[in-house]
Symmetry: C2
Subunit: 241 residues, 2 copies
């Protein structure tokens, strides 16, 4: 197969679309935004927000457009972390014809917008693919899985966790991100030491957060640092030592 140029040796033409995996941490839960499909195929199933790439449009632009068109979030260029994940182009992934989807990863602070409409809502990332998962359209289950792994891994060696919190933030805010994404509990004291010793991870400010209703010492507020890589990395608690 493929040895001789036969019937199938013709080059294919593709419809290219973008699917956006929007991740956030809301109420302590690592979550993915999905929209319910109205039309076939997979009508009624939940899908990643996405769109076809238009004439003259950059693929990254398409991702930004899908973000606000499908979710109602109007978001400036620098407000969110947007990075390409990878592409999915199996021949049979859409029965209507040959398509290739470029998946993008978006990391957001918990959006204040009232997003939980009937057909647009966040789902716990850990559930998707499991028994408590809603039906997912196309190969979007695989895409979400890849996105989760990418995000988990990048928390270790990049300052990406700060993309999940609004500025300025407390170190407790940041710790909650790690705990939600990794599904572990971290010692607050040791976490603090690692974060402040990693150069360029966070920038301390002089301001303090107001304590919660039960009181407590006011927490110092921080902003994102300039580092793109963490030295040393924030290592995930090991499964096997």
């Amino acid at each position: 197969m493929g040895e001789h140029p036969g019937e199938d040796a013709k080059p294919e033409t593709f419809a290219v679309s973008v699917d956006v995996v929007i991740l956030t941490v809301r109420a302590g839960t690592f979550s993915v935004l999905l929209v319910r499909r109205r039309r076939d195929p997979h009508a009624g199933a939940w899908a990643l927000p996405g769109s076809r790439v238009r004439v003259g449009e950059g693929v990254r632009e398409t991702a930004r457009r899908a973000l606000w068109q499908k979710t109602g979030m109007d978001i400036g260029p620098d407000d969110v972390h947007l990075e390409q994940l990878r592409s999915y182009g199996e021949p049979d992934r859409d029965a209507r014809g040959r398509t290739l989807s470029v998946a993008y990863l978006v990391l957001l602070p918990d959006p204040p917008v009232a997003l939980d409409r009937d057909d647009v809502r966040f789902w716990p990332a850990r559930d998707l693919g499991g028994p408590a998962s809603p039906p997912l359209a196309f190969d979007h289950g695989e895409i979400v899985l890849d996105a989760r792994e990418r995000a988990s891994a990048k928390l270790e060696y990049t300052p990406l966790a700060t993309a999940f919190v609004e500025e300025p933030f407390t170190l407790a805010d940041l710790r909650h991100v790690y705990e939600a994404v990794w599904g572990v509990e971290l010692d607050a004291a040791n976490f603090r030491r690692k974060v402040v010793s990693a150069t360029g991870f966070v920038e301390p400010s002089d301001a303090r957060a107001r304590p919660g209703p039960g009181g407590g010492r006011p927490a110092r507020l921080y902003n994102r640092g300039q580092a793109t890589l963490l030295h040393p990395p924030m290592l995930r608690p090991g499964t096997e030592p």
Copy 2:
């Protein structure tokens, strides 16, 4: 722009191709395989081996086909590490029309094949993009850069370095991979301890390698382990402590 569905709101149709970044370590140098283009555009410039995706063909299949068609290496499904890098689809990347290229990463032991033909050869990865670089076609300079970064990073937290050496291998072989890719020198004794203590990284065998011409104690031979992630990771010597 993009606010109203106008002339540019039409969905685009793409020609999709695959470009393969073939990385190896030969003679202590981290290297990339490039082929010289015969045809315009960019005739005479050096490019990544690639091919259009055919009707009914999976994108990963296209990558495997490009690998042996353009380089003459005939390679079984499990002989090499092949993973998707990301896709490149800027509107103006090919003047002939709208194209999207899915880049794949291939890691190989130094191939015994006589590859250094006039129009197919390995180039030192560190040079590409710099002043000693040959002219590169399309956006292939950017792709090679991304590939280098991905490979460097994955050496830290995955056992991927073993993909660069033939089995069985010595720990010195493995160390040379890290040294070439990272461009550093590593202490042999400390390297050994970290490798053997990372569970599932390498499997010791009872066999020994034959010493070189100058003599020396025979080195134990190892095979690849089953781990997909390293605990703990092999941390790159830090730039800032």
